[in-house]
């Protein structure tokens, strides 16, 4: 059994690579959307705010799986051909973006208005206020929920197995199908997920510690 499990490891690692690629892309794109969305909600003109709010509330109210199927099966109907991996990236990023938007908005909103006043008072323009005063403080508060969302996204990436992307979960299922070694294989896959997420959490905690001097 151990030999069979050992020979299955390369397949699992290939799946892990896909999971990692997908997660990194989605976390990056989701964060980018999140920052744009969060800043729009806090500082944008009314019309933009309404659209972003609509996007966030809609997407947060829909299961990721529905979103995933909608992109994978829906876009081709509308004439856009899209592969399963790409569909996964799009659907998960749209989902991640909505959550990250709220995370970023909350972080910025939690910085007292007096900080903005003080920054205005020394003549800083909008972008300088954001870059030097608001964001450095907001990031400290964005970090814990951001890590939380990132970890959820790594786990959520397993859903793309349902549209045929051979990421870690589907790779595991394929190995189990070949070898009938159920518990050890899933345990191994579970450990891999855990390792990624534990690393992300620890990195977050480390950063948080670095910002510990931020007090009011």
């Amino acid at each position: 059994m151990w030999l069979e499990l050992w020979t299955a490891v390369p397949a699992l690692l290939r799946g892990l690579t896909v999971t990692l690629e997908l997660s990194v892309l989605v976390i990056f794109l989701g964060s980018a959307i999140g920052y744009l969305g969060g800043l729009s909600l806090e500082y944008g003109p009314n019309l933009l705010r309404i659209w972003v709010r609509l996007y966030v509330d809609t997407v947060r109210g829909i299961p990721v799986l529905v979103l995933l199927f909608a992109v994978f099966y829906g876009l081709p109907i509308l004439g856009t051909q899209i592969g399963p991996f790409e569909a996964g990236v799009v659907a998960l990023s749209v989902f991640a973006g909505a959550h990250m938007t709220e995370v970023v908005r909350g972080g910025i909103a939690s910085i007292p208005r007096t900080q903005s006043d003080a920054a205005k008072a020394i003549g800083l323009g909008f972008w300088d206020r954001l870059r030097w005063v608001i964001l450095p403080q907001a990031i400290r508060r964005i970090l814990p929920p951001w890590v939380n969302t990132a970890v959820e996204l790594v786990k959520g990436s397993s859903l793309v197995s349902l549209i045929g992307v051979v990421e870690l979960l589907l790779a595991t299922q394929q190995v189990v199908g070949r070898t009938f070694i159920v518990i050890p294989t899933y345990t191994l896959a579970g450990l891999m997920y855990f390792t990624i997420n534990y690393t992300v959490s620890r990195l977050g905690a480390l950063l948080e510690h670095r910002y510990a001097f931020l007090r009011y």
């Binding site: 006043d117 003080a118 008072a121 020394i122 003549g123 800083l124 030097w132 005063v133 009011y216």
Partner: protein
């Protein structure tokens, strides 16, 4: 001992700040109902009045932390915050407002230092990002002002490592580093423990002595009497009485001011 008169430097004649009929409302609440005020170069003007009388709102209008609804505020001859287009009053673009603000220093009741920066960084941010100075030049400026407010040894301290009085002195240094034409002080000692008030007032007195133009909202009546050239009493969004500290504080004319001052009884005897 110095007499109070010697603490005051002579003032020149041209007004650096001129407010004409300034109105401001928050929703249905009219906070400022037509404020007129001239402050000349080198003059120290104290604004006194009960809370809710509009003092703080007026100060915040001067550097446009609040937009005012009607009237005009000129600093050094320049209309603050608004321009005219097709004969209509219009808010200036952000960039122009930002530039005007840089020339007006304000110090807040709650210090509002940037908690993620050291004392030095708090002060050099303005000269660097707004004044276009190099890090080196800005740092020199920051050190000089920190020394001036007696905190040369706190260069690398973060705000949470400083006492309230020290934080407020850093905040004053931060405003001064922009070389403002005018300094506004908004109840800067109200949030301090009594034993820390003196060190902040001493810094302000030092500024008055070197001829800084200051508008000071304060409840420290002894300080007002000793340092201000002129006292302005506000009530319900209007200037009710103004004059020399002696006239106003010792011989108030209006009933409103008499009632207000009765709270400070004993201070002036």
């Amino acid at each position: 001992m110095r007499s109070p008169e010697q603490a005051r430097t002579p003032i020149r004649n041209e007004p650096i700040l001129r407010a004409v009929g300034v109105h401001k409302r928050f929703g249905s609440l009219e906070v400022l109902r037509g404020i007129d005020l001239d402050v000349r170069r080198g003059e120290v003007v104290a604004l006194i009045g009960a809370s809710g009388s509009g003092k703080t709102t007026f100060l915040r209008c001067i550097n446009l932390l609040e937009e005012y609804d009607a009237g005009q505020i000129f600093v050094d001859g320049e209309l603050i915050g608004y321009g005219e287009r097709d004969g209509r009053r219009e808010l200036l673009p952000e960039r122009a407002i930002t530039k005007q603000r840089a020339a007006i220093g304000i110090v807040f009741q709650s210090f509002n230092l940037f908690p993620h920066m050291t004392a030095e960084e708090n002060i050099l941010l303005g000269p660097m990002r707004v004044g276009g100075k190099s890090r080196q030049e800005a740092s020199t400026i920051a050190r000089a002002w920190l020394a001036r407010v007696g905190l040369a040894d706190k260069l690398t301290a973060h705000p949470f490592q400083l006492s309230g009085g020290q934080q407020q002195r850093v905040a004053i240094a931060r405003a001064l580093a922009m070389e403002p034409k005018l300094m506004l002080f908004d109840e800067v000692t109200s949030a301090l423990d009594p034993e820390l008030v003196g060190e902040v007032l001493a810094v302000m007195q030092d500024l008055a002595r070197i001829g800084m133009t200051m508008v000071v909202v304060s409840h420290e009546m002894l300080f007002v009497r000793e340092v201000a050239h002129r006292v302005v009493f506000m009530d319900e969004g209007r200037v009710v009485e103004e004059g020399s500290p002696h006239d106003l504080l010792i011989n108030p004319r209006s009933e409103r001011l008499k009632a207000f001052l009765s709270r400070f009884q004993g201070v002036f005897r």
